[in-house]
């Protein structure tokens, strides 16, 4: 099984621990993971902001870099949705514009891209990944995972199998957090209002951790929680699943950290 990790640009630069957690987790489950170093960005921000033509070279690059793998796995619902939903649209539009089938064919060569929880549940057929995380957690299902990928209860089943975890229901869980890529800059007031409500709902659960499977949403919410000195910590689902009794994920003491780390496991895993 040739599995490539597609890490997404936000994770690579700002949340490398999420990538390490995915590697740790998959290797623990016996998967040999490769990280093609030529990967950069799927082009989602460009596409969603209306720069389709600027997206095309990035999509071509993505297709070239990941061609030949059996599976592509990514800890981001929105980037997986970009590849699966919008790449075919890019090809179709190029054809509509009289530029032939070349782009569509190139993009069709991308192996099926799985969001991490899909890969675990659907391909590896596992829900108990041997994780240990003795904390109270509330889960925010991100929009693209929920409505474009239809992840359903996969993330929840994985979380429920984590030893020591206590899950708390999040009110308005299925509502968007207000990030929306460039939306948060173009419509700052609405974005902040949406984020505020999400943070308030997370706080009212009394949970220590707000978990999601997309770091971009967590960056937005974590940034608000940090500014508001909230006691809730944003943590990516992959980091909870990578945490074990031997190497537990430690939550920082201070209120409002923006992200946490896999700490002592790094540098030793392989």
């Amino acid at each position: 099984m040739r599995v490539a990790l597609f890490l997404t640009c936000v994770n690579d630069l700002l949340y490398p621990d999420t990538g390490r957690a995915v590697v740790t987790l998959l290797e623990r489950l016996g998967v040999e993971v490769d990280f093609p170093l030529d990967q950069t960005c799927c082009g989602q921000a460009h596409y969603n902001t209306g720069y389709r033509h600027e997206t095309e070279p990035l999509a071509r690059r993505h297709a070239r870099v990941f061609a030949g793998y059996d599976y592509v796995v990514t800890p981001s619902g929105s980037c997986a949705a970009m590849v699966r939903d919008n790449y075919p649209r890019l090809g179709a539009r190029a054809r509509d514009e009289g530029r032939g089938d070349e782009l569509a064919k190139a993009l069709a060569g991308v192996p099926k891209t799985y969001e991490l929880t899909e890969f675990l549940v659907d391909v590896l057929k596992v829900t108990d990944v041997g994780a240990y995380f003795p904390h109270t957690v509330t889960y925010h299902p991100t929009c693209h995972g929920l409505r474009m990928l239809r992840l359903g209860d996969r993330p929840r089943r994985l979380l429920e199998a984590v030893k020591g975890i206590e899950l708390r229901e999040l009110e308005g869980a299925e509502e968007c957090c207000g990030f929306g890529g460039t939306f948060s800059v173009k419509n700052p007031d609405v974005s902040a209002a949406m984020g505020d409500d999400k943070v308030r709902n997370a706080e009212s659960t009394g949970a220590e951790v707000l978990c999601a499977a997309d770091n971009s949403c967590l960056m937005h919410l974590g940034g608000m929680m940090s500014r508001q000195k909230s006691r809730v910590r944003p943590v990516h689902l992959a980091e909870i699943l990578a945490s074990t009794e031997q190497r537990p994920l430690e939550l920082p003491d201070q209120a409002g950290p923006v992200h946490v780390t896999t700490g002592s496991t790094v540098g030793e895993q392989r």
């Binding site: 939306f183 419509n187 201070q254 923006v258």
Partner: protein, 536 residues
């Protein structure tokens, strides 16, 4: 569309004020959450909802693709039933036709059933200019009209008002329009409804002309269909001598049989009811029953231009149920007025810029009034892929491209005000397409992280106004992978492999070479992250 809404600020500016109106936000949150929960229950009662949804979309698409045929069939059927059909290319023409019909009768007052099409054309204002007073009779429209306000929701035009505010509006303004509100009116809903009933009854009994829109027009019989909840519409449709119906050309469906689908999907999606209380159908004129004269004004106003766009045309399927508004988190915070159009919310964000064009700051901001969360697409009873059309319109705004304006295929230029963004997008695209450059950019960022400002300059300041930036870790993931992960790089054997792989020099020796970087992360103080790399 109408001049009524032009000159309004762009969506972000309007939302800046409305998001700070705590009363407005409380009213909206309460109302939308109530409707959305009830709607979900009503939909779940039907086992064949997905099939109904697909059927609704298919009927609408079929009709739109054969619009010329069905419109001519409708005209023939209406004429045969004793009505008169008028064709209006734009809002002004529709208003002029309606004004002339009314003037020919010598009347100076009309009663109206709630109609978004006449909101779109700004009919009330046009009539007022011609000395004709138009009275709204839908309860919520009445509230909005008495308050000299604008509707803010497709289904619940006064959703932004609570009942105390409504009591005050009745008490203050009813007397200027006709029968005053009763003394000591309370904000009890029953009392408010009774006050409106008494006020409106006077208008229904004395007014000779009624104006309506249409939810559906049936081509095979020339029948107009209105669905409503109060019965006030039926009064307008039956009591006056003359009835004028103004409807967009996309409201047509081929047959009576097709109505079956929408009579199930529209009430459930809009009011969360199995069946709406009043469904009125009328065909031309009937001796001794209802109006003696019937005029149908068919309005284009940008619809055929919209139809010419293969991606955007699906917006014309809309049956105005408002389900997308009620689930939209952006609508909930910004309110309907921020959209500057009778069509607010997600459907307004795609319909308005298509009908009106993308020439004003407001219209170019509307396709960005969404996080693309997809909740609107999920609930739409005719499966309009609103996020897809939003992205499509964003592309038109940022890159320009082919479009149809007034029936002519043209290529429009990118909208103004995106120069900085365009430059940024091009620059980031270039960097992202050159991994070496990207790595240098990453290295520069991580090595200078202690110098990074906490408050960003330029448009990005919006981010740091309300949020802290994530502290930049000392190393990127790819740095860690190259230096600390021992898996030998697997050569990508796929077609068209890019041979510039930077893994070439990393042969899997997990040495401490990256130890030279250990000092870069110190001194930031705020970074809670452990340096994941060279700590062994």
């Amino acid at each position: 569309m109408s001049g009524t809404y032009l000159g309004l600020p762009s969506f972000p500016k309007a939302a800046h004020d409305s998001t700070r109106d705590t009363q407005l936000r409380a009213n909206l949150t309460h109302a939308t959450h109530t409707i959305r929960t009830k709607r979900a229950t009503a939909i779940n009662e039907l086992t064949d909802w997905p099939q109904l949804r697909a059927a609704g979309a298919a009927i609408k698409d079929h009709t739109l693709h054969h619009l010329d045929h069905y419109l001519l069939q409708l005209e023939a059927a209406v004429t045969a039933a004793g009505g008169t059909v008028h064709w209006a290319l734009d809002a002004n023409e529709a208003n002029t036709i309606a004004t002339q019909i009314i003037k020919n009768t010598g009347e100076t007052e009309v009663v109206k059933i709630k109609s978004m099409t006449t909101q779109e054309t700004g009919l009330n204002h046009a009539l007022e200019t011609a000395g004709i007073h138009a009275y709204e009779t839908d309860l919520a429209e009445l509230i909005v009209q008495l308050a000299n306000d604008k509707p803010s929701h497709i289904l619940v035009p006064a959703i932004h008002k609570n009942r105390t505010e409504i009591r005050d509006i009745f008490t203050t303004h009813m007397t200027h329009w006709g029968r005053p509100a009763p003394d000591n009116l309370t904000d009890n809903p029953t009392d408010l409804a009774e006050a409106a009933r008494l006020h409106l009854r006077e208008k229904f009994l004395n007014t000779k002309i009624g104006i309506s829109g249409a939810n559906f027009m049936i081509a095979e019989t020339g029948t107009m269909v209105i669905l409503e909840s109060e019965g006030n519409g039926r009064m307008c449709l039956t009591l006056p001598d003359t009835l004028i119906t103004i409807a967009g050309i996309e409201k047509i469906i081929p047959t009576y049989q097709d109505l079956e689908v929408f009579l199930q999907t529209l009430p459930r999606s809009s009011t969360a009811e199995r069946m709406n209380p009043y469904t009125s159908l009328w065909t031309g004129t009937t001796p001794h029953d209802g109006p003696h004269t019937f005029h149908l004004i068919l309005l284009d106003n940008g619809r055929t231009d919209t139809l010419a766009d293969t991606t955007g045309q699906q917006a014309l399927r809309c049956i105005r149920c408002s389900a997308c508004l009620n689930v939209c988190p952006v609508y909930e915070r910004a309110g309907g007025h921020a959209y500057g159009s009778p069509y607010p919310g997600p459907i307004g964000a795609i319909l308005t810029p298509q009908l009106r064009g993308t020439t004003t700051p407001l219209d170019t901001s509307l396709p960005y009034a969404s996080t693309l969360c997809g909740a609107c697409y999920d609930v739409c009873p005719v499966a309009i892929n609103i996020p897809q059309v939003l992205v499509h319109l964003r592309e038109r705004i940022t890159q320009g491209g082919p479009t149809t304006t007034h029936g002519t295929r043209t290529t429009i230029q990118p909208a103004k005000g995106h120069r900085l963004e365009r430059t940024t997008m091009r620059a980031t695209r270039w960097t992202l397409n050159h991994p070496t450059a990207l790595q240098h950019a990453h290295n520069l960022a991580t090595h200078t992280r202690h110098l990074h400002p906490q408050h960003l300059p330029g448009p990005a300041h919006h981010w740091t106004d309300t949020r802290n930036l994530p502290p930049l870790p000392p190393h990127t993931f790819r740095h860690w992978w190259q230096h600390h992960h021992q898996t030998p790089p697997t050569t990508n054997t796929g077609k068209g492999t890019d041979t510039r792989s930077e893994t070439a020099t990393d042969t899997g020796t997990d040495t401490g070479t990256a130890g030279t970087d250990t000092g870069t992360g110190t001194g930031t103080g705020t970074n809670t992250q452990t340096d994941g790399g060279p700590q062994q």
